[in-house]
């Protein structure tokens, strides 16, 4: 299991794709928003939590189709399916690798981007906690979407269409928590809901992803 994780990590570092791409995309979104809504710092500060969450979500979406597509093309997926690794473990590892290479860097970079958007400092902690709690769910849900569309020729667009509605609950509670934090309100309720969704997703969705992947391999 560790071997697969290490391999995916190596690939992400070397292929020149996965790793920095999400971060760069996040930065571009954050840079473009002021051009779209104007440079007033009060307005930017108000919408900063939402923008950061949306940016993280889109950056995450960007790299989803790489989760299985490359392994599918070169036949690794067939070979992994006949290896001792259970399919459920395989999809979990894939999701974890995706989170480590995409989600975690986004979480770490979020404070810097929050600075660019004039977010009040007391909002940093809830923002980071909400992203830390929410992005794993994004990766796991995204892995399910990637498993659904693996092997489809025009899978990329379909993947977004399938995954985005599934992102709604996570986005709502995550952004709500970040927003309440920035405005100095109590964040307990959205925090618990977000944590609940993430835990439930991580616990249950790999079974669906594995089932879907088995269907796609046959």
């Amino acid at each position: 299991m560790i071997a697969l994780l290490i391999r995916d990590f190596r690939l992400a570092m070397r292929a020149g794709g996965g790793f920095g791409l999400g971060l760069a995309f996040f930065l571009i979104v954050v840079t473009l928003v002021p051009f779209g809504v104007g440079p007033q710092s009060t307005l930017l500060a108000t919408i900063a939590p939402g923008i950061l969450w949306l940016g993280a979500l889109l950056a995450c979406l960007l790299s989803l189709d790489r989760i299985f597509a490359l392994d599918w093309e070169d036949g690794s997926l067939d070979l992994l399916a006949t290896s001792p690794l259970p399919m459920e473990a395989l999809v979990t590892i894939k999701a974890l690798a995706h989170w480590l290479t995409t989600g975690l860097p986004l979480v770490l970079a979020a404070p810097v981007f929050a600075l660019l958007l004039n977010m009040p400092t007391e909002g940093y902690r809830p923002l980071i906690i909400s992203l830390l709690l929410g992005t794993p769910a994004l990766s796991v849900i995204g892995t399910f979407g990637a498993a659904l569309t693996v092997g489809l020729k025009r899978g990329g667009l379909l993947l977004s269409l399938l995954v985005l509605p599934l992102y709604v609950p996570t986005l709502i509670f995550g952004a709500e928590m970040a927003r309440r934090g920035a405005e100095g309100f109590d964040t307990t309720t959205p925090l618990l809901m977000l944590a609940g969704i993430t835990c439930g997703t991580i616990a249950l969705l790999p079974f669906a992803s594995a089932a879907v992947l088995r269907v796609n391999l046959r």
Partner: protein
């Protein structure tokens, strides 16, 4: 250790391709599958490997004993030969790859990125993977594609050593591997007959 296939019917894309197929292999035996293109050899091998369910019949394989090698080798272009092989060894719970590197004369290429290999060298790397898995039953789909004569001999001796060690192999191939001890099965006669046209349910299989 053995592989038993009994009264197997398989389908590709919802259409039956082969039916009534039975054979059994014991330790040290090899089976070479022959038949024209598109008759369903790949589908048969994937069914034996458990990647797809049969329409009917049974495939009896001991748990965790089988390794499958298809048309693609599962090689990552940005990893070196050693890293590629090392990963598959670890995935199957082994660590020693030197034997496999030698058997297919990959040692001089060890630190080269797999993307820089020729097609034949890639294939050799893909076949070396079989050795590092330590599995007893090899299910191979056209293993000799893009191999030169010398490499085919390498492969044949690897198979022979595998069989001598109590292993099994099911190989779909068009060329003569020089494996005199292998049984040959022509799957052509097992081609599925079309169902009755007014069988409405059958149309959904």
């Amino acid at each position: 250790m053995g592989l038993t296939v009994s009264d197997l019917t398989i389908a590709r894309g919802g259409i039956r391709v082969l039916e009534g197929l039975s054979f059994a292999l014991g330790a040290g035996q090899a089976l070479v599958l022959r038949g024209p293109n598109g008759v369903g050899k790949t589908t048969l091998l994937r069914t034996i490997a458990g990647l797809q369910p049969p329409v009917s019949g049974r495939v009896k394989v001991p748990a965790d004993a089988l390794v499958y090698a298809g048309h693609a080798d599962g090689i990552k272009a940005t990893l070196t030969v050693r890293e590629n092989l090392g990963f598959w060894a670890q995935a199957f719970g082994n660590s020693d790859i030197t034997g496999a590197m030698e058997a297919f004369q990959l040692a001089p290429l060890g630190e080269r990125p797999a993307g820089a290999l020729s097609a034949g060298q890639k294939r050799r790397l893909g076949l070396a993977r079989l050795l590092v898995t330590g599995r007893k039953i090899w299910v191979l789909d056209e293993p000799t594609v893009s191999l030169d004569v010398e490499a085919v001999a390498m492969f044949a001796s690897a198979v022979r050593a595998h069989l001598a060690g109590g292993g099994l192999a099911v190989i779909a191939t068009h060329i003569d591997l020089g494996l005199s001890e292998a049984q040959v099965l022509d799957v052509g006669p097992f081609k599925a007959k079309p169902l009755e046209h007014d069988d409405f349910d059958g149309a959904f299989l």
